[in-house]
C-alpha cells in the first residue's frame, strides 16, 4: 500500500523574501529554511497577488487574484462562491486545517441571505477561509474585551502557564519591562530592542509550532493539508530573549532608498511617505532598533522549522509530505522611505517560496533555483496536482508548479506577473482626497520593466535592468510611452481573463447549434427541413 500524501503549508506573516540566508541575506542565517530549499525548489521570483494580509491570503486560499476574490482590503470577506483549498482536497479524502492566522473575514451577508448557519459545519469552514480551525489565531489582540477579535486560546494557555493577566498576549508576549519593571508596549517600536515579557518557549512562534505538531499527530492515517500560519515577524516587532539581541545594528542591511525619491515623487508614493509610520521608519534609529528584532523573529521561526522538520522525520512523514514555506507579502522596513506594504516595490511584493516535494520524480530537482514568475495563486493548483485532483479551469487562475518541481517541460508559462492593491484603508487615501473605490493600483512586471497603473494618477515605470533597486520612476518619460502602452495592454488582456463564472468553460458538449440540435430539438432559424444537421467542420 502506498502511503498517502500530506501537505504542510507554512506561511510567515510580513516576511520579506530577502531576509533569509538562502535568499541572500548577509547576516541572518536561516539554516533550517535553507535546508528545506536544498531538499526542494526555491522560487526566486515569487510575488504576492496583493501586498496586504487578507487580500494576499484570499488569493493563496482560492487560487484567484485579488480583485477576482473581491477581497479589496483587510476585513473584506472571501465570497461564499469562491472555493477554497478544502473544497478541492476534501473530496480526495483530505482534512484541511489551520493553525495560526488566516485573516479571512466571513461573508456573513451572503451566508445570512442563503440561510447558512455560521455555526454549522459548512458555516464554520466559510468563516475560517475554508479551513477547519484547529487553532485559528490571527494575532493582534491589544484588547482583552474586543468585539472585533475574540480572545485566542493562546491567552488561556499563557494563563495556565502562570502569566497572570486578563490579556497576556498583550501584557507578556508583546510587551517588555522597562528598567523600573514597568510594562511597556511592544506596539511602540522604541521598545522593540527589549526582550518580550515572556519565556521564549511560551512565545507565539513556538506555541504555534507545537500546536501544528499536535494537529499532525491527531490526524492518524487521514491525509491532511495543514496550514501552519505564523503570526510573526509581523508587527508588533517584539521578540523574546535571546532573539531580541541576537543581531546588532551592525548586522542590518543598508536602507534601500535615495534622497532623490523624495523629490517630486509620484502622488501615491508621496501620500504613503507622509504617513506617520513612514515618517518614523525614515529615521535611522528606528531601523537600527527594530530590524534586529525583526531578524530575531525570523531566526526564531527558522529554529522552529528545524524542530518541525525533526518532528516529521521522527514520525517518518518526510517521504509523504509536501512542505511549502512562504509569506503573505513583504515589509518595506524603511526602504524607499516607506513602511508596511501596500505598494509595489520589491521589498513589499516579493515573497520567499520554497517547495519540498517528497516524490521520487522530484529528486532530480532538489536544491535548484527557479526563476519563473510565480505568485500565491499557483499554490492551490500545485496542491491539487500533488494530491491527484483535477484542475478546475473556470475557477483557478493560477497554475500548478509541480512540473517545475519535477523538471518537466513547461509549455507557455507567463513571462509577466501581476499584483494588485487597494489602499482605501490607509491614511494615504485621505491625503489624496479619494473615495474608497478610487484607491486602486495594478502592477505588471516583465523581465525588464515594472509598470504600475494607479487609478486616477499617472503610471509608474521602473527599468529593472538599469535600475534594479527602483529608485528612478520613468512613468512620465516621453521616450518610454510605447513601453507603458505595451504593459497597459498586457494588464488589460490579463484582466479580461478573470474567472468569474460559476460554470465550467471547457463546455464543448453544450455547444448549441448543429451538434446538439438533434438531441434537444431546437433549430435556430433554419429554412428547409431535410438538410440535416451541419457537422463540425
Amino acid at each position: 500500500m502506498s502511503k498517502h500524501k500530506n501537505i504542510l503549508f507554512i506561511m510567515a506573516d510580513q516576511l520579506r523574501w530577502d531576509y533569509l540566508s538562502c535568499y541572500g541575506h548577509p547576516y541572518l542565517q536561516t539554516p533550517n529554511i535553507d535546508r528545506l530549499a536544498n531538499m526542494g525548489v526555491r522560487f526566486d521570483r515569487a510575488y504576492c497577488n496583493s501586498p496586504l494580509c487578507a487580500p494576499s491570503r484570499a488569493s493563496f486560499y482560492t487560487g484567484r487574484s485579488m480583485f477576482s476574490t473581491g477581497t479589496y482590503w483587510n476585513s473584506f470577506p472571501i465570497k461564499v462562491t469562491d472555493w477554497t483549498i478544502g473544497d478541492y482536497l476534501e473530496p480526495l479524502g483530505y482534512r484541511c486545517l489551520v493553525v495560526g492566522k488566516t485573516d479571512t473575514a466571513p461573508d456573513l451577508e451572503n451566508m445570512s441571505r442563503l440561510g447558512i448557519d455560521p455555526e454549522s459545519k459548512i458555516g464554520q469552514k466559510l468563516r475560517h477561509g475554508g479551513f477547519e480551525p484547529f487553532e485559528r489565531d490571527d494575532g493582534l489582540h491589544p484588547h482583552y474585551l474586543s468585539q472585533r477579535r475574540p480572545q485566542p486560546n493562546y491567552n488561556h494557555y499563557l494563563r495556565e502557564n502562570g502569566y497572570d493577566h486578563p490579556n497576556p498576549w498583550q501584557h507578556h508576549a508583546n510587551s517588555a519591562l522597562d528598567e523600573h519593571g514597568k510594562v511597556i508596549s511592544g506596539w511602540y517600536m522604541q521598545n522593540n530592542n527589549k526582550p518580550a515579557n515572556i519565556d521564549e518557549e511560551h512565545s507565539e512562534t513556538p506555541y504555534m509550532t507545537r500546536r501544528a505538531m499536535d494537529c499532525i499527530e491527531s490526524m492518524g492515517d487521514t491525509p491532511w493539508c495543514l496550514h501552519l500560519s505564523f503570526i510573526k515577524p509581523h508587527w508588533p516587532y517584539h521578540a523574546p530573549a535571546p532573539y531580541h539581541e541576537m543581531y546588532t545594528k551592525d548586522e542590518i542591511v543598508p536602507r534601500l532608498a535615495k534622497e532623490s525619491e523624495k523629490d517630486n515623487p509620484h502622488p501615491v508614493m508621496d501620500a504613503f511617505m507622509r504617513m506617520r509610520g513612514s515618517q518614523h521608519w525614515a529615521r535611522d534609529e528606528v531601523r537600527e532598533t527594530v530590524i534586529p528584532a525583526y531578524m530575531g523573529l525570523v531566526k526564531q521561526i527558522d529554529d522552529q522549522i528545524g524542530r518541525l522538520l525533526t518532528f516529521l522525520e521522527e514520525k517518518s512523514l518526510m517521504d509523504q509530505t509536501m512542505i511549502v514555506f512562504t509569506s503573505d507579502h513583504g515589509d518595506y522596513l524603511g526602504d524607499h522611505w516607506l513602511h508596511e506594504k501596500d505598494t509595489f516595490h520589491e521589498p513589499s511584493i516579493r515573497i520567499p517560496l520554497i517547495i519540498y516535494d517528497p516524490s521520487l520524480e522530484a529528486d532530480q530537482c532538489r536544491g535548484i533555483v527557479n526563476n519563473q514568475f510565480v505568485t500565491g495563486i499557483d499554490l492551490l493548483p500545485t496542491f491539487i496536482d500533488f494530491a491527484g485532483g483535477k484542475f478546475v479551469s473556470h475557477r483557478l487562475e493560477g497554475q500548478s508548479l509541480v512540473p517545475f518541481l519535477h523538471g518537466d517541460k513547461v509549455g507557455d508559462w507567463p513571462d509577466f506577473v501581476v499584483s494588485e492593491t487597494g489602499y482605501a484603508g490607509r491614511m494615504a487615501r485621505h491625503y489624496l482626497g479619494l473615495e474608497p473605490w478610487e484607491c486602486r493600483g495594478y502592477m505588471v512586471r516583465t523581465e525588464r520593466w515594472k509598470y504600475i497603473l494607479w487609478e486616477g494618477f499617472a503610471p509608474q515605470l521602473f527599468d529593472l535592468i538599469y535600475d534594479p533597486n527602483e529608485f528612478i520612476d520613468l512613468g512620465q518619460d516621453p521616450k518610454l510611452e510605447n513601453i507603458r502602452q505595451d504593459h497597459e495592454s498586457l494588464l488589460f488582456k490579463w484582466m479580461r481573463h478573470r474567472k468569474l463564472s460559476a460554470w465550467r468553460d471547457d463546455w464543448a458538449d453544450t455547444t448549441i447549434g448543429p451538434f446538439v440540435e438533434d438531441e434537444i430539438g431546437i433549430l435556430i432559424g433554419y429554412w428547409e427541413e431535410g438538410e440535416g444537421p451541419q457537422k463540425k467542420p
Copy 2:
C-alpha cells in the same frame, strides 16, 4: 393611507428596438406600447448588456454586467452570490414573481457545496433568477420528454382546452398544417407564413398575459414586482391567425446590408456569416416569409399589452404601478447578412425601453424621449429607487433612471455604453478554431464611434455619424489608431470597476489607521508613545 407601489416589468424576447411604431417602424403599428410611451419616458438609446438571452437577463435581474455575473452564455448560472431583484425588494415588503421566461440556470454546484436544498424556499428562488415562479416558462419545448426542459404548465392548459397531443406546445402552438392537413413544424422558417395550428386566444402570448392578470389579482394588498416575460417574437417565428397574415412582404423594411460587407470581412463576422442560419437569412424569400410573421407576433404582444393596460385601469392600479416595457436583445433578421444576435450591430444590441412612472413627480416628463445611453443594468437600481430602497454600491453596476423620469438634474451620466458577448456556443467558434474561453468580444460606443474588441482578432470600428448603418468597418484604418486607443482605454477603465466584492465599498468607518486605532488598539509601526492618534486632515 398612501397606496403601495407595484412594478410591472414586461419583457419581450428577441424584439428589435425598431419594430415598434413609437421607435419609427413605418408599417408595424403598436398603438398600445406607443400609448405607454406617451404616458412615460421612451429611452431611445437603450442597449442590452449582452446580445444573448441568459447573459442579458442575468444583467437585468442582478444590475450587473455580463462578465461580472459570470453568465458567459446560455445555461451559465447566475452565481448564488449575485443578488437579484427580490433580494432588494422583498425586505421592502414586495413579492417578486415571474410569469414567462427567465432563461436562468441554477448555480447547482455552489448550492450543493453550500448545503442549499434546491426545493427549499431559498433554493426555489435561486433556481428561478430570484423570482417566485408563478408560471415559469422559458418556451422552446420541442420534445415532450426532454430532461433539459421540463414540460410547461401551458401544455396542460392546452390539453385541457382540447389540444390532444402529448406536446401541444410543439404540435399546435408552434406548428402549422399543410394543404393536406399534415402537421408541419414551425421551427422551419419556410412554414412561418402559415397560421399556427391553434386558436389565437390559446397561443402563448395571450396565455401569458392572462396568467399575469391572475398573478396580479392574487396579490391583494401586497406590493408586487411582476416580471411578465413573453416568449415571443423569439423563434420559432410562428404566429396564430389572424396575425400570421396581418403584414405582407411589401410592408417589411429593406434589408440593412451591403454586398461590400461580404468582401474581406472581419474574421468573426465572416464566421457568423458562414453559419447556416445566416446563409438562410441571406435569401430574400426568407425575409419575405418570416418578417411578416415576426411583425405579427409583435402586433399580438401589442394587443395583449392593450388588454393588460385596460385590466390595470379597471383594477385602479394605474396610479400605483410602474410599468416597464423592454426586450432582452434584438434580432438581425438578415441585416448585415447575419441572423440571430451575439455580435454588436445595432439590430442585435439595441432594445426598446419604455418606463411609465405613476408618480406625480413624473407628470412633467410624460411622453418625452430620452437620448442618454442606458442599459439593462439600470433597471434594478430604478426599481429600488421607485420602491424606496437604498442603492447598494458594491453590487449594483447600473444607475437609477428615476431622475430621468422626473426631469431631475442628473450629474455625471456616462457618455458611453458597454456591451459584452461570448460566442462559445456558436458554430462560429468552430469555424475560427477557438477554445470556448477565447470567444469573447466587448463593445464600447460613444456619441460618434462604436469600437469592438474581439479577443484574438483585430478590433472593429464604426463611425456612427458618417456611417450610421455600420457598413464600413474602420478597425484597420491607420488614421484612426488614436480613436481606437482612446476607446480601448475607456473600455479598460470601465472593466477595472467591475464590482466583485461581497462587502460594501463605502466603508470610511472601517479605515484602519489613526481613525480607529484608539478603538481597536492596533498601532502600525509607530515609534513613540504619547504622540496621540493622527487626525483626519
